[in-house]
């Protein structure tokens, strides 16, 4: 059996929202801070960084003051508080004591903001990444024969699926 990967049959076009973020990162005056924050991961899915998840939007450094701009995934997501705390802790541990985290609502977070690496990390971790195609691939056995059990899974961002071949349930990261 050929092991399917997430984007195996998809022409890799960068979604506009991801592209805009990437340009911001590439033209940043403080690339070392972006690299540092690559260590900060989603507390619920501890394999994906805030950058790859699309939560980290911008880092602005003025003298000693650092402002980090993030976008919440779901309105009531309790992980946002933990993410803010982890950002401040990571930066202060690296010698930047003055950090403010700002929440930006627009443009609204979208699963299009998740990077290609992030999608692969989700899949490897056992969570089917968001897909506009109707077919959701089982992250355990790569079968395409899967069915929706519930629109809402263990967290607001996920739906619950079941694989009809290996019979295992799995989480699917919903399109938003």
């Amino acid at each position: 059996m050929v092991a399917a990967t997430v984007g195996s049959n998809i022409i890799p076009i960068l979604p506009e929202l991801f592209n805009r973020r990437q340009k911001k990162r590439q033209s940043s005056a403080c690339p070392e801070l972006w690299a540092l924050l690559d260590q900060v991961v989603d507390p619920e899915i501890p394999v994906i960084s805030l950058w790859d998840l699309g939560v980290l939007q911008d880092i602005i450094k003025e003298d000693q003051q650092i402002n980090v701009v993030i976008t919440p995934t779901y309105s009531g997501c309790p992980a946002m508080f933990e993410m803010e705390r982890d950002i401040v802790q990571t930066l202060s541990a690296a010698g930047y004591p003055s950090v403010a985290v700002e929440t930006q609502l627009s443009p609204a977070w979208s699963t299009e903001m998740i990077s290609a690496e992030g999608r692969q990390q989700l899949f490897d971790y056992g969570i089917a990444p968001p897909s506009v195609a109707k077919i959701i691939i089982c992250p355990q056995c790569s079968s395409k024969n899967t069915q929706l059990l519930s629109q809402f899974g263990s967290t607001a961002c996920k739906a619950l699926y079941k694989c009809n071949d290996c019979l295992e349930p799995f989480d699917y990261f919903k399109c938003l």
Binding site: S75, C77, L105, S106, F152, L160
Partner: protein, 253 residues
């Protein structure tokens, strides 16, 4: 404290109150859902509404220049100061009643937020765009449930019909403009609720029809939530929601 932002503050808090109270009501289903998946789904929806309330209250707090925090607005106001619509404060009832209410509100929210997304106020527009995406999922789910219950067994059909019948008198309040909303409409900040009625009726009628349910024929109508005149249930809800902050003022998580 009155200032020229007062109509906007009142408006933002009222929108927050609708979400806060409905989120609190839905969270009562936690551990009581008919099965595990539904328990998870309903509490996730509750969380979306509470998150939405938080965004509105944060904005109101900013407009008040920090005179009150978002938490103060949620936990330190009494029932007469709450401005939510009556329909969201009614007790959860049985599961069919809860789903009938969700369908009524989700359908309304989809129309309302679609308009609010075009608000001249950028913060309200941003909140609406975000909330609208979540509402699409909520509506898909409440729609599925109303179909399943309406077109299900005799028992489920009777219960969901009863849910709509009991809620019908509270529907008209969804479409009533407050003085603040009318004033803000002239500045293209708020949404004309009354103009949404025809679309809402058309869509709801088709959903009821699909679910083999009858459109209720109720002539009584209640309103007053926007003036702080609530049902007897409201105080009980606040008593539970606000207990910790009232008993231990300033307590932090």
């Amino acid at each position: 404290m009155m200032n020229d932002k007062q109509p906007l503050i009142n408006y933002v808090i009222a929108l927050g109150d609708d979400s806060m109270i409905l989120g609190q009501r839905l969270s009562e289903w936690c551990y009581h859902g008919p099965f595990l998946e539904e328990d998870l789904a309903i509490t996730n929806v509750a969380l979306d509404f509470i998150g939405r309330a938080q965004m509105f209250y944060e904005y109101a707090s900013k407009l008040e220049e920090g005179a009150r925090s978002a938490d103060d607005i949620a936990f330190l106001r009494d029932t007469r100061d709450y401005r939510n619509l009556l329909i969201v404060e009614l007790p959860v009832g049985d599961f069919a009643f809860t789903m009938a209410r969700q369908l009524i509100v989700d359908l309304f929210n989809q129309l309302y937020l679609g308009q609010l997304a075009k608000s001249a106020d950028p913060t309200l527009a941003a909140i609406a765009v975000k909330a609208l995406k979540e509402t699409d999922y909520h509506l898909r789910r409440s729609h599925d449930w109303v179909l399943r219950l309406g077109d299900g067994t005799d028992e489920s059909h009777q219960r969901i019909q009863q849910g709509f019948d009991q809620l019908w008198g509270y529907v008209s309040e969804l479409f009533v403009m407050t003085a603040d909303e009318s004033q803000l409409l002239a500045e293209k900040i708020s949404v004309d609720r009354s103009a949404l009625r025809d679309d809402w009726d058309t869509q709801l009628n088709s959903l009821l029809n699909e679910a083999t349910l009858l459109r209720p024929d109720t002539d009584w109508q209640l309103s007053g939530g926007r003036e702080g005149l609530h049902t007897e249930h409201h105080g009980h809800l606040l008593a539970e929601m606000q207990f910790i902050q009232r008993a231990y003022p300033g307590l932090k998580w």
